[in-house]
Assembly symmetry: D2
Homo-oligomer: 144 residues x 4
Amino acid sequence: MPQSLSGTLHDGYHTLLQRVYFEHTDFSGIVYHARYLNFLERGRTDYVRLLDIHHNELADGAHGENLAFAVFRMELDFKAAARIDDVLKITTRQGELKGPRLTFNQKITRGDTLIVQAKVGVVLINEEGKPRRFPRAMVKALGL
Amino acid sequence: MPQSLSGTLHDGYHTLLQRVYFEHTDFSGIVYHARYLNFLERGRTDYVRLLDIHHNELADGAHGENLAFAVFRMELDFKAAARIDDVLKITTRQGELKGPRLTFNQKITRGDTLIVQAKVGVVLINEEGKPRRFPRAMVKALGL
Amino acid sequence: MPQSLSGTLHDGYHTLLQRVYFEHTDFSGIVYHARYLNFLERGRTDYVRLLDIHHNELADGAHGENLAFAVFRMELDFKAAARIDDVLKITTRQGELKGPRLTFNQKITRGDTLIVQAKVGVVLINEEGKPRRFPRAMVKALGL
Amino acid sequence: MPQSLSGTLHDGYHTLLQRVYFEHTDFSGIVYHARYLNFLERGRTDYVRLLDIHHNELADGAHGENLAFAVFRMELDFKAAARIDDVLKITTRQGELKGPRLTFNQKITRGDTLIVQAKVGVVLINEEGKPRRFPRAMVKALGL
Protein backbone atom coordinates (compact mmCIF):
# COMPACT_ATOMS: atom_id res chain seq x y z
CA MET A 1 0.00 0.00 0.00
CA PRO A 2 2.40 2.73 -1.13
CA GLN A 3 1.48 6.35 -0.51
CA SER A 4 3.31 9.58 0.02
CA LEU A 5 4.18 9.95 3.71
CA SER A 6 1.84 12.97 3.76
CA GLY A 7 -1.10 11.34 2.01
CA THR A 8 -2.76 12.41 -1.22
CA LEU A 9 -4.24 15.72 -2.27
CA HIS A 10 -7.49 15.40 -4.25
CA ASP A 11 -9.69 18.12 -5.71
CA GLY A 12 -11.06 19.76 -2.55
CA TYR A 13 -10.06 17.07 -0.08
CA HIS A 14 -7.19 14.96 1.25
CA THR A 15 -6.75 11.31 2.15
CA LEU A 16 -4.18 9.70 4.43
CA LEU A 17 -3.65 6.03 5.26
CA GLN A 18 -2.67 5.20 8.82
CA ARG A 19 -2.08 1.89 10.57
CA VAL A 20 -3.48 0.93 13.99
CA TYR A 21 -0.60 0.05 16.33
CA PHE A 22 -0.44 -1.25 19.94
CA GLU A 23 -0.46 2.32 21.29
CA HIS A 24 -3.90 3.06 19.83
CA THR A 25 -5.77 0.16 21.43
CA ASP A 26 -7.08 -0.39 24.95
CA PHE A 27 -7.86 -3.41 27.12
CA SER A 28 -11.37 -3.75 25.66
CA GLY A 29 -9.59 -4.93 22.49
CA ILE A 30 -10.39 -1.97 20.23
CA VAL A 31 -9.00 1.48 19.46
CA TYR A 32 -9.34 3.87 22.44
CA HIS A 33 -11.68 6.70 21.41
CA ALA A 34 -9.24 9.54 22.16
CA ARG A 35 -6.64 8.08 19.75
CA TYR A 36 -8.87 8.86 16.77
CA LEU A 37 -8.24 12.55 17.47
CA ASN A 38 -4.57 11.96 16.75
CA PHE A 39 -5.46 10.40 13.39
CA LEU A 40 -7.76 13.33 12.61
CA GLU A 41 -5.05 15.84 13.51
CA ARG A 42 -2.62 14.09 11.18
CA GLY A 43 -5.16 14.30 8.39
CA ARG A 44 -5.60 18.06 8.85
CA THR A 45 -1.87 18.64 9.25
CA ASP A 46 -0.91 16.71 6.14
CA TYR A 47 -3.72 18.33 4.15
CA VAL A 48 -2.37 21.81 4.85
CA ARG A 49 1.22 20.53 4.50
CA LEU A 50 0.47 19.54 0.91
CA LEU A 51 -0.92 23.06 0.44
CA ASP A 52 2.52 24.24 1.61
CA ILE A 53 1.44 25.34 5.10
CA HIS A 54 3.85 24.02 7.74
CA HIS A 55 3.55 24.06 11.54
CA ASN A 56 7.25 24.77 12.01
CA GLU A 57 7.12 27.78 9.63
CA LEU A 58 3.94 29.09 11.29
CA ALA A 59 5.62 28.77 14.70
CA ASP A 60 8.67 30.62 13.39
CA GLY A 61 6.67 33.60 12.20
CA ALA A 62 6.60 32.86 8.44
CA HIS A 63 3.20 34.62 8.31
CA GLY A 64 4.10 37.56 10.60
CA GLU A 65 3.39 36.58 14.20
CA ASN A 66 4.30 33.18 15.62
CA LEU A 67 1.18 31.13 15.01
CA ALA A 68 -0.17 27.67 15.77
CA PHE A 69 -3.41 25.87 14.99
CA ALA A 70 -5.78 25.28 17.93
CA VAL A 71 -9.00 23.29 17.99
CA PHE A 72 -11.99 25.14 19.47
CA ARG A 73 -14.81 22.67 18.79
CA MET A 74 -15.31 19.03 17.84
CA GLU A 75 -18.37 16.92 17.12
CA LEU A 76 -17.48 13.25 16.97
CA ASP A 77 -19.59 10.23 16.12
CA PHE A 78 -17.95 6.88 16.79
CA LYS A 79 -19.76 4.49 14.46
CA ALA A 80 -17.70 1.29 14.50
CA ALA A 81 -14.60 -0.07 16.19
CA ALA A 82 -11.13 -0.31 14.68
CA ARG A 83 -8.66 -2.98 15.80
CA ILE A 84 -4.93 -3.68 15.90
CA ASP A 85 -3.27 -3.90 12.44
CA ASP A 86 -6.24 -2.22 10.67
CA VAL A 87 -5.38 0.25 7.93
CA LEU A 88 -7.54 3.35 8.27
CA LYS A 89 -8.18 6.05 5.72
CA ILE A 90 -8.59 9.59 7.06
CA THR A 91 -10.49 11.87 4.67
CA THR A 92 -10.34 15.61 5.31
CA ARG A 93 -12.45 18.21 3.52
CA GLN A 94 -12.35 21.86 4.45
CA GLY A 95 -15.72 23.36 5.17
CA GLU A 96 -16.28 27.07 5.60
CA LEU A 97 -14.27 29.96 6.95
CA LYS A 98 -16.19 32.38 9.22
CA GLY A 99 -13.97 35.18 10.46
CA PRO A 100 -11.03 33.45 12.13
CA ARG A 101 -12.85 30.10 12.40
CA LEU A 102 -12.26 27.31 9.93
CA THR A 103 -14.26 24.08 9.92
CA PHE A 104 -13.01 20.74 8.62
CA ASN A 105 -15.28 17.78 7.83
CA GLN A 106 -13.43 14.55 8.44
CA LYS A 107 -14.08 10.85 8.47
CA ILE A 108 -12.14 7.73 9.26
CA THR A 109 -12.99 4.62 7.28
CA ARG A 110 -11.75 1.01 6.95
CA GLY A 111 -12.70 -0.17 3.50
CA ASP A 112 -16.42 0.61 3.21
CA THR A 113 -16.94 0.82 6.97
CA LEU A 114 -17.34 4.25 8.55
CA ILE A 115 -15.45 4.28 11.85
CA VAL A 116 -15.58 7.94 12.92
CA GLN A 117 -17.31 11.04 11.54
CA ALA A 118 -16.03 14.39 12.77
CA LYS A 119 -16.64 18.10 12.41
CA VAL A 120 -13.64 20.04 13.68
CA GLY A 121 -13.37 23.80 14.20
CA VAL A 122 -9.88 25.31 14.27
CA VAL A 123 -8.40 28.76 14.71
CA LEU A 124 -4.90 30.15 14.31
CA ILE A 125 -3.64 31.55 17.62
CA ASN A 126 -0.64 33.72 18.39
CA GLU A 127 1.67 33.20 21.36
CA GLU A 128 -0.77 34.96 23.70
CA GLY A 129 -3.48 32.52 22.60
CA LYS A 130 -5.43 35.17 20.66
CA PRO A 131 -7.19 34.02 17.46
CA ARG A 132 -5.78 35.61 14.30
CA ARG A 133 -7.27 35.91 10.80
CA PHE A 134 -5.97 33.26 8.42
CA PRO A 135 -3.21 34.72 6.21
CA ARG A 136 -4.48 35.48 2.69
CA ALA A 137 -2.05 33.00 1.11
CA MET A 138 -3.43 30.28 3.33
CA VAL A 139 -7.04 31.14 2.52
CA LYS A 140 -6.21 31.02 -1.16
CA ALA A 141 -4.36 27.71 -0.86
CA LEU A 142 -7.39 26.25 0.91
CA GLY A 143 -9.63 27.49 -1.90
CA LEU A 144 -11.87 29.45 0.48
CA MET B 1 -4.63 19.74 47.95
CA PRO B 2 -5.63 16.41 49.46
CA GLN B 3 -8.37 14.39 47.81
CA SER B 4 -9.33 10.77 47.50
CA LEU B 5 -7.45 9.22 44.58
CA SER B 6 -10.86 8.71 42.93
CA GLY B 7 -12.21 12.20 43.50
CA THR B 8 -15.31 13.21 45.41
CA LEU B 9 -18.93 12.13 45.06
CA HIS B 10 -21.42 14.96 45.44
CA ASP B 11 -25.22 14.85 45.26
CA GLY B 12 -25.77 14.06 41.57
CA TYR B 13 -22.25 14.78 40.35
CA HIS B 14 -18.56 14.01 40.82
CA THR B 15 -15.39 16.09 40.92
CA LEU B 16 -11.80 15.02 40.34
CA LEU B 17 -8.60 17.06 40.55
CA GLN B 18 -5.90 16.28 37.98
CA ARG B 19 -2.53 17.85 37.35
CA VAL B 20 -1.17 18.84 33.91
CA TYR B 21 2.13 17.03 33.29
CA PHE B 22 4.68 17.15 30.43
CA GLU B 23 2.81 14.39 28.56
CA HIS B 24 -0.34 16.53 28.19
CA THR B 25 1.27 19.54 26.53
CA ASP B 26 2.44 20.16 22.95
CA PHE B 27 5.02 22.40 21.28
CA SER B 28 2.58 25.33 21.11
CA GLY B 29 3.03 25.53 24.91
CA ILE B 30 -0.45 24.45 25.97
CA VAL B 31 -2.36 21.22 26.58
CA TYR B 32 -2.91 19.22 23.36
CA HIS B 33 -6.66 19.05 22.71
CA ALA B 34 -6.87 15.24 22.58
CA ARG B 35 -5.42 14.93 26.10
CA TYR B 36 -8.56 16.48 27.61
CA LEU B 37 -10.42 13.33 26.55
CA ASN B 38 -8.19 11.36 28.91
CA PHE B 39 -9.11 13.70 31.78
CA LEU B 40 -12.80 13.39 30.89
CA GLU B 41 -12.57 9.59 30.80
CA ARG B 42 -10.97 9.60 34.26
CA GLY B 43 -13.82 11.72 35.56
CA ARG B 44 -16.45 9.30 34.24
CA THR B 45 -14.52 6.24 35.41
CA ASP B 46 -14.00 7.54 38.93
CA TYR B 47 -17.60 8.71 39.16
CA VAL B 48 -18.92 5.23 38.46
CA ARG B 49 -16.11 3.72 40.58
CA LEU B 50 -17.43 5.60 43.62
CA LEU B 51 -20.87 4.18 42.74
CA ASP B 52 -19.17 0.77 42.99
CA ILE B 53 -19.03 0.09 39.24
CA HIS B 54 -15.57 -1.17 38.23
CA HIS B 55 -14.12 -1.71 34.74
CA ASN B 56 -12.26 -4.85 35.80
CA GLU B 57 -15.45 -6.41 37.26
CA LEU B 58 -17.46 -5.46 34.16
CA ALA B 59 -14.78 -7.03 31.95
CA ASP B 60 -14.86 -10.19 34.09
CA GLY B 61 -18.59 -10.66 33.70
CA ALA B 62 -19.79 -9.39 37.10
CA HIS B 63 -23.00 -8.26 35.39
CA GLY B 64 -23.52 -11.37 33.21
CA GLU B 65 -21.67 -10.87 29.92
CA ASN B 66 -18.17 -9.39 29.72
CA LEU B 67 -18.83 -5.68 29.29
CA ALA B 68 -16.90 -2.48 28.69
CA PHE B 69 -17.87 1.16 28.32
CA ALA B 70 -17.55 2.65 24.82
CA VAL B 71 -18.03 6.26 23.74
CA PHE B 72 -20.37 6.73 20.76
CA ARG B 73 -20.60 10.54 20.60
CA MET B 74 -18.81 13.62 21.92
CA GLU B 75 -19.43 17.32 21.61
CA LEU B 76 -16.47 19.31 22.84
CA ASP B 77 -15.98 23.04 23.23
CA PHE B 78 -12.42 24.12 23.99
CA LYS B 79 -12.83 27.49 25.72
CA ALA B 80 -9.43 28.30 27.20
CA ALA B 81 -5.96 26.80 27.32
CA ALA B 82 -4.45 24.86 30.22
CA ARG B 83 -0.69 24.81 30.82
CA ILE B 84 2.00 22.71 32.48
CA ASP B 85 1.58 22.37 36.29
CA ASP B 86 -2.05 23.57 36.23
CA VAL B 87 -4.45 21.78 38.55
CA LEU B 88 -7.69 21.05 36.70
CA LYS B 89 -11.04 20.08 38.15
CA ILE B 90 -13.13 17.63 36.13
CA THR B 91 -16.84 17.81 36.96
CA THR B 92 -19.05 14.96 35.75
CA ARG B 93 -22.85 14.95 35.89
CA GLN B 94 -24.90 12.14 34.42
CA GLY B 95 -27.58 13.26 32.05
CA GLU B 96 -30.25 10.97 30.72
CA LEU B 97 -30.50 7.31 29.86
CA LYS B 98 -32.26 6.51 26.56
CA GLY B 99 -32.38 2.78 25.91
CA PRO B 100 -28.75 1.66 26.06
CA ARG B 101 -27.40 5.20 25.67
CA LEU B 102 -26.20 7.22 28.63
CA THR B 103 -25.14 10.85 28.37
CA PHE B 104 -22.69 12.60 30.69
CA ASN B 105 -22.30 16.37 30.96
CA GLN B 106 -18.75 17.24 31.86
CA LYS B 107 -16.56 20.27 32.24
CA ILE B 108 -12.93 20.96 33.00
CA THR B 109 -12.14 24.10 34.97
CA ARG B 110 -9.11 25.82 36.48
CA GLY B 111 -10.34 27.96 39.33
CA ASP B 112 -13.15 30.05 37.81
CA THR B 113 -11.95 29.54 34.23
CA LEU B 114 -13.88 27.13 32.02
CA ILE B 115 -11.35 25.16 29.94
CA VAL B 116 -13.48 22.49 28.25
CA GLN B 117 -17.21 21.78 28.10
CA ALA B 118 -18.24 18.32 26.95
CA LYS B 119 -21.30 16.20 26.29
CA VAL B 120 -20.36 12.54 26.13
CA GLY B 121 -22.56 9.63 25.07
CA VAL B 122 -21.55 6.14 26.23
CA VAL B 123 -22.87 2.62 25.83
CA LEU B 124 -21.97 -0.67 27.43
CA ILE B 125 -20.76 -3.15 24.82
CA ASN B 126 -20.17 -6.88 25.02
CA GLU B 127 -17.18 -8.68 23.52
CA GLU B 128 -18.80 -8.67 20.07
CA GLY B 129 -19.15 -4.89 20.32
CA LYS B 130 -22.97 -5.03 20.67
CA PRO B 131 -24.59 -2.42 22.93
CA ARG B 132 -26.24 -3.88 26.03
CA ARG B 133 -28.86 -2.40 28.40
CA PHE B 134 -27.32 -0.99 31.56
CA PRO B 135 -27.70 -3.49 34.42
CA ARG B 136 -30.49 -2.51 36.83
CA ALA B 137 -28.07 -2.13 39.75
CA MET B 138 -26.01 0.31 37.70
CA VAL B 139 -29.04 2.34 36.68
CA LYS B 140 -30.10 2.54 40.32
CA ALA B 141 -26.62 3.53 41.47
CA LEU B 142 -26.60 6.31 38.88
CA GLY B 143 -29.98 7.53 40.16
CA LEU B 144 -31.59 7.25 36.71
CA MET C 1 -6.74 6.28 49.64
CA PRO C 2 -6.20 9.98 50.38
CA GLN C 3 -2.92 11.59 49.39
CA SER C 4 -1.73 15.01 48.42
CA LEU C 5 -2.23 15.51 44.68
CA SER C 6 1.57 15.71 44.40
CA GLY C 7 2.38 12.65 46.47
CA THR C 8 4.44 12.45 49.64
CA LEU C 9 7.97 13.61 50.41
CA HIS C 10 9.94 11.16 52.54
CA ASP C 11 13.50 11.46 53.83
CA GLY C 12 15.48 11.14 50.58
CA TYR C 13 12.70 9.87 48.35
CA HIS C 14 9.17 10.52 47.11
CA THR C 15 6.08 8.37 46.59
CA LEU C 16 3.07 9.00 44.38
CA LEU C 17 -0.08 6.92 43.91
CA GLN C 18 -1.53 6.72 40.42
CA ARG C 19 -4.48 4.82 39.01
CA VAL C 20 -4.44 2.79 35.79
CA TYR C 21 -7.12 4.12 33.42
CA PHE C 22 -8.38 2.99 29.96
CA GLU C 23 -5.75 5.19 28.24
CA HIS C 24 -2.86 3.24 29.79
CA THR C 25 -3.88 -0.24 28.61
CA ASP C 26 -3.60 -1.95 25.23
CA PHE C 27 -5.46 -4.75 23.43
CA SER C 28 -3.33 -7.44 25.10
CA GLY C 29 -5.24 -6.53 28.29
CA ILE C 30 -2.37 -4.98 30.24
CA VAL C 31 -0.67 -1.59 30.56
CA TYR C 32 1.22 -0.61 27.37
CA HIS C 33 4.93 -0.40 28.20
CA ALA C 34 5.42 3.20 27.04
CA ARG C 35 2.72 4.45 29.46
CA TYR C 36 4.92 3.62 32.45
CA LEU C 37 7.24 6.43 31.32
CA ASN C 38 4.40 8.86 31.92
CA PHE C 39 3.98 7.54 35.47
CA LEU C 40 7.74 7.81 36.04
CA GLU C 41 7.80 11.39 34.75
CA ARG C 42 4.99 12.31 37.14
CA GLY C 43 6.98 10.84 40.01
CA ARG C 44 10.06 12.92 39.16
CA THR C 45 8.01 16.06 38.52
CA ASP C 46 6.08 15.84 41.78
CA TYR C 47 9.24 15.01 43.72
CA VAL C 48 10.93 18.22 42.59
CA ARG C 49 7.62 20.11 42.90
CA LEU C 50 7.54 19.30 46.61
CA LEU C 51 11.12 20.60 46.76
CA ASP C 52 9.69 23.83 45.32
CA ILE C 53 11.04 23.35 41.76
CA HIS C 54 8.35 24.03 39.18
CA HIS C 55 8.38 23.40 35.41
CA ASN C 56 6.46 26.60 34.69
CA GLU C 57 8.92 28.72 36.72
CA LEU C 58 11.92 27.02 35.07
CA ALA C 59 10.41 27.70 31.65
CA ASP C 60 9.82 31.33 32.60
CA GLY C 61 13.45 31.90 33.56
CA ALA C 62 13.14 31.77 37.36
CA HIS C 63 16.69 30.39 37.47
CA GLY C 64 18.21 32.71 34.84
CA GLU C 65 17.76 31.16 31.41
CA ASN C 66 14.54 29.48 30.32
CA LEU C 67 15.08 25.85 31.29
CA ALA C 68 13.34 22.52 30.99
CA PHE C 69 14.17 18.99 32.13
CA ALA C 70 15.13 16.52 29.39
CA VAL C 71 15.76 12.79 29.70
CA PHE C 72 19.05 11.59 28.15
CA ARG C 73 19.09 7.94 29.24
CA MET C 74 16.74 5.30 30.61
CA GLU C 75 17.20 1.71 31.68
CA LEU C 76 13.87 0.00 32.19
CA ASP C 77 13.05 -3.48 33.45
CA PHE C 78 9.42 -4.49 33.07
CA LYS C 79 8.92 -7.16 35.74
CA ALA C 80 5.17 -7.71 35.95
CA ALA C 81 2.02 -6.46 34.26
CA ALA C 82 -0.37 -3.84 35.61
CA ARG C 83 -4.05 -3.85 34.67
CA ILE C 84 -7.05 -1.52 34.46
CA ASP C 85 -8.13 -0.05 37.83
CA ASP C 86 -4.83 -0.98 39.55
CA VAL C 87 -3.41 1.57 41.99
CA LEU C 88 0.32 1.92 41.40
CA LYS C 89 2.90 3.48 43.68
CA ILE C 90 5.76 5.35 42.00
CA THR C 91 8.84 5.65 44.22
CA THR C 92 11.52 8.14 43.17
CA ARG C 93 14.94 8.43 44.75
CA GLN C 94 17.59 10.80 43.44
CA GLY C 95 20.89 9.17 42.73
CA GLU C 96 24.00 11.12 41.93
CA LEU C 97 24.80 14.37 40.19
CA LYS C 98 27.75 14.26 37.75
CA GLY C 99 28.34 17.63 36.13
CA PRO C 100 25.01 18.53 34.51
CA ARG C 101 23.69 14.94 34.69
CA LEU C 102 21.32 13.84 37.43
CA THR C 103 20.22 10.24 37.87
CA PHE C 104 16.95 9.12 39.48
CA ASN C 105 16.27 5.58 40.67
CA GLN C 106 12.60 4.80 40.32
CA LYS C 107 10.26 1.87 40.71
CA ILE C 108 6.58 1.23 40.18
CA THR C 109 4.90 -1.23 42.52
CA ARG C 110 1.42 -2.61 43.17
CA GLY C 111 1.31 -3.73 46.79
CA ASP C 112 4.37 -5.97 47.18
CA THR C 113 4.69 -6.64 43.44
CA LEU C 114 7.45 -4.88 41.52
CA ILE C 115 6.07 -3.79 38.14
CA VAL C 116 8.84 -1.61 36.69
CA GLN C 117 12.38 -0.76 37.80
CA ALA C 118 13.99 2.28 36.17
CA LYS C 119 17.18 4.28 36.15
CA VAL C 120 16.60 7.66 34.55
CA GLY C 121 19.21 10.26 33.63
CA VAL C 122 18.04 13.86 33.21
CA VAL C 123 19.63 17.17 32.33
CA LEU C 124 18.39 20.74 32.39
CA ILE C 125 18.45 22.24 28.90
CA ASN C 126 18.05 25.81 27.74
CA GLU C 127 16.00 26.91 24.72
CA GLU C 128 18.82 25.95 22.35
CA GLY C 129 18.82 22.46 23.83
CA LYS C 130 22.19 22.94 25.57
CA PRO C 131 22.65 21.21 28.97
CA ARG C 132 23.06 23.63 31.87
CA ARG C 133 24.44 23.08 35.39
CA PHE C 134 21.70 22.60 37.97
CA PRO C 135 21.11 25.86 39.86
CA ARG C 136 22.69 25.79 43.34
CA ALA C 137 19.30 26.18 45.06
CA MET C 138 18.06 23.12 43.21
CA VAL C 139 21.11 21.05 44.09
CA LYS C 140 20.67 22.01 47.73
CA ALA C 141 16.96 21.20 47.69
CA LEU C 142 17.77 17.78 46.24
CA GLY C 143 20.30 17.21 49.02
CA LEU C 144 23.14 16.55 46.54
CA MET D 1 8.78 10.56 0.13
CA PRO D 2 6.87 7.45 -0.96
CA GLN D 3 7.26 4.25 1.02
CA SER D 4 5.17 1.22 1.75
CA LEU D 5 2.89 1.94 4.72
CA SER D 6 4.83 -0.77 6.59
CA GLY D 7 8.32 0.44 5.70
CA THR D 8 11.03 -1.44 3.85
CA LEU D 9 12.61 -4.82 4.49
CA HIS D 10 16.37 -4.89 3.93
CA ASP D 11 18.78 -7.80 4.31
CA GLY D 12 18.70 -8.34 8.09
CA TYR D 13 17.01 -5.10 9.07
CA HIS D 14 13.99 -2.87 8.49
CA THR D 15 13.46 0.85 8.02
CA LEU D 16 10.32 2.91 8.53
CA LEU D 17 9.73 6.62 7.95
CA GLN D 18 7.50 8.42 10.44
CA ARG D 19 6.48 12.04 10.74
CA VAL D 20 6.50 14.06 13.98
CA TYR D 21 3.00 15.44 14.64
CA PHE D 22 1.53 17.73 17.34
CA GLU D 23 0.79 14.73 19.58
CA HIS D 24 4.50 13.80 19.86
CA THR D 25 5.77 17.15 21.12
CA ASP D 26 5.65 18.80 24.55
CA PHE D 27 5.70 22.37 25.85
CA SER D 28 9.52 22.47 25.82
CA GLY D 29 9.18 22.54 22.01
CA ILE D 30 10.62 19.12 21.23
CA VAL D 31 9.41 15.52 21.07
CA TYR D 32 8.43 14.14 24.50
CA HIS D 33 10.81 11.27 25.34
CA ALA D 34 8.10 8.66 25.91
CA ARG D 35 6.74 9.15 22.37
CA TYR D 36 9.88 7.66 20.85
CA LEU D 37 8.81 4.33 22.32
CA ASN D 38 5.75 4.45 20.08
CA PHE D 39 7.97 4.98 17.03
CA LEU D 40 10.22 2.11 18.12
CA GLU D 41 7.22 -0.19 18.60
CA ARG D 42 6.00 0.64 15.10
CA GLY D 43 9.41 -0.25 13.73
CA ARG D 44 9.39 -3.66 15.42
CA THR D 45 5.78 -4.32 14.49
CA ASP D 46 6.22 -3.46 10.82
CA TYR D 47 9.45 -5.42 10.66
CA VAL D 48 7.74 -8.62 11.78
CA ARG D 49 4.66 -7.72 9.70
CA LEU D 50 6.80 -7.81 6.55
CA LEU D 51 8.03 -11.20 7.75
CA ASP D 52 4.35 -12.20 7.77
CA ILE D 53 3.92 -12.13 11.56
CA HIS D 54 0.75 -10.24 12.54
CA HIS D 55 -0.44 -9.14 15.99
CA ASN D 56 -4.06 -9.91 15.18
CA GLU D 57 -3.22 -13.46 14.05
CA LEU D 58 -1.02 -14.02 17.11
CA ALA D 59 -3.85 -12.81 19.35
CA ASP D 60 -6.28 -15.15 17.56
CA GLY D 61 -4.16 -18.22 18.19
CA ALA D 62 -2.59 -18.64 14.73
CA HIS D 63 0.45 -20.13 16.45
CA GLY D 64 -1.41 -22.32 18.98
CA GLU D 65 -2.10 -20.28 22.10
CA ASN D 66 -3.28 -16.66 21.97
CA LEU D 67 -0.04 -14.69 22.04
CA ALA D 68 1.12 -11.08 22.21
CA PHE D 69 4.51 -9.40 22.24
CA ALA D 70 5.58 -7.82 25.54
CA VAL D 71 8.65 -5.71 26.25
CA PHE D 72 10.70 -6.84 29.26
CA ARG D 73 13.72 -4.52 29.03
CA MET D 74 14.77 -1.31 27.30
CA GLU D 75 17.98 0.68 27.23
CA LEU D 76 17.45 4.08 25.67
CA ASP D 77 19.91 6.83 24.85
CA PHE D 78 18.35 10.12 23.81
CA LYS D 79 21.06 11.82 21.76
CA ALA D 80 19.37 14.75 20.05
CA ALA D 81 15.94 16.37 19.92
CA ALA D 82 13.34 15.93 17.18
CA ARG D 83 10.82 18.65 16.40
CA ILE D 84 7.37 19.13 14.83
CA ASP D 85 7.22 18.19 11.11
CA ASP D 86 10.51 16.25 11.22
CA VAL D 87 10.64 13.03 9.23
CA LEU D 88 12.30 10.32 11.30
CA LYS D 89 13.72 7.02 10.12
CA ILE D 90 13.35 4.07 12.49
CA THR D 91 15.90 1.30 11.83
CA THR D 92 15.27 -2.09 13.44
CA ARG D 93 17.74 -4.96 13.48
CA GLN D 94 17.06 -8.18 15.35
CA GLY D 95 19.79 -9.20 17.72
CA GLU D 96 19.88 -12.56 19.40
CA LEU D 97 17.35 -15.04 20.67
CA LYS D 98 18.07 -16.53 24.10
CA GLY D 99 15.39 -18.98 25.15
CA PRO D 100 12.14 -17.01 24.95
CA ARG D 101 13.93 -13.63 24.89
CA LEU D 102 14.51 -11.74 21.67
CA THR D 103 16.56 -8.54 21.49
CA PHE D 104 16.14 -5.82 18.88
CA ASN D 105 18.69 -3.09 18.20
CA GLN D 106 16.96 0.05 17.05
CA LYS D 107 17.78 3.63 16.24
CA ILE D 108 15.88 6.73 15.24
CA THR D 109 17.62 9.15 12.92
CA ARG D 110 16.84 12.40 11.07
CA GLY D 111 19.14 12.56 8.08
CA ASP D 112 22.62 11.96 9.50
CA THR D 113 21.61 12.92 13.05
CA LEU D 114 21.17 10.13 15.59
CA ILE D 115 18.14 10.97 17.75
CA VAL D 116 17.61 7.81 19.82
CA GLN D 117 19.54 4.57 20.22
CA ALA D 118 17.68 1.65 21.79
CA LYS D 119 18.14 -1.95 22.81
CA VAL D 120 14.78 -3.61 23.32
CA GLY D 121 14.10 -7.06 24.78
CA VAL D 122 10.77 -8.68 23.96
CA VAL D 123 9.02 -11.93 24.80
CA LEU D 124 5.88 -13.58 23.51
CA ILE D 125 3.35 -14.02 26.31
CA ASN D 126 0.15 -16.04 26.47
CA GLU D 127 -3.10 -14.81 28.01
CA GLU D 128 -1.86 -15.63 31.52
CA GLY D 129 1.20 -13.48 30.89
CA LYS D 130 3.59 -16.46 30.75
CA PRO D 131 6.51 -16.20 28.29
CA ARG D 132 6.34 -18.73 25.45
CA ARG D 133 9.05 -19.97 23.07
CA PHE D 134 8.94 -18.24 19.71
CA PRO D 135 7.16 -20.45 17.14
CA ARG D 136 9.64 -22.15 14.79
CA ALA D 137 8.17 -20.41 11.72
CA MET D 138 8.76 -17.06 13.39
CA VAL D 139 12.32 -17.90 14.35
CA LYS D 140 13.00 -18.95 10.77
CA ALA D 141 11.39 -15.81 9.34
CA LEU D 142 13.59 -13.71 11.62
CA GLY D 143 16.67 -15.58 10.38
CA LEU D 144 17.67 -16.60 13.92
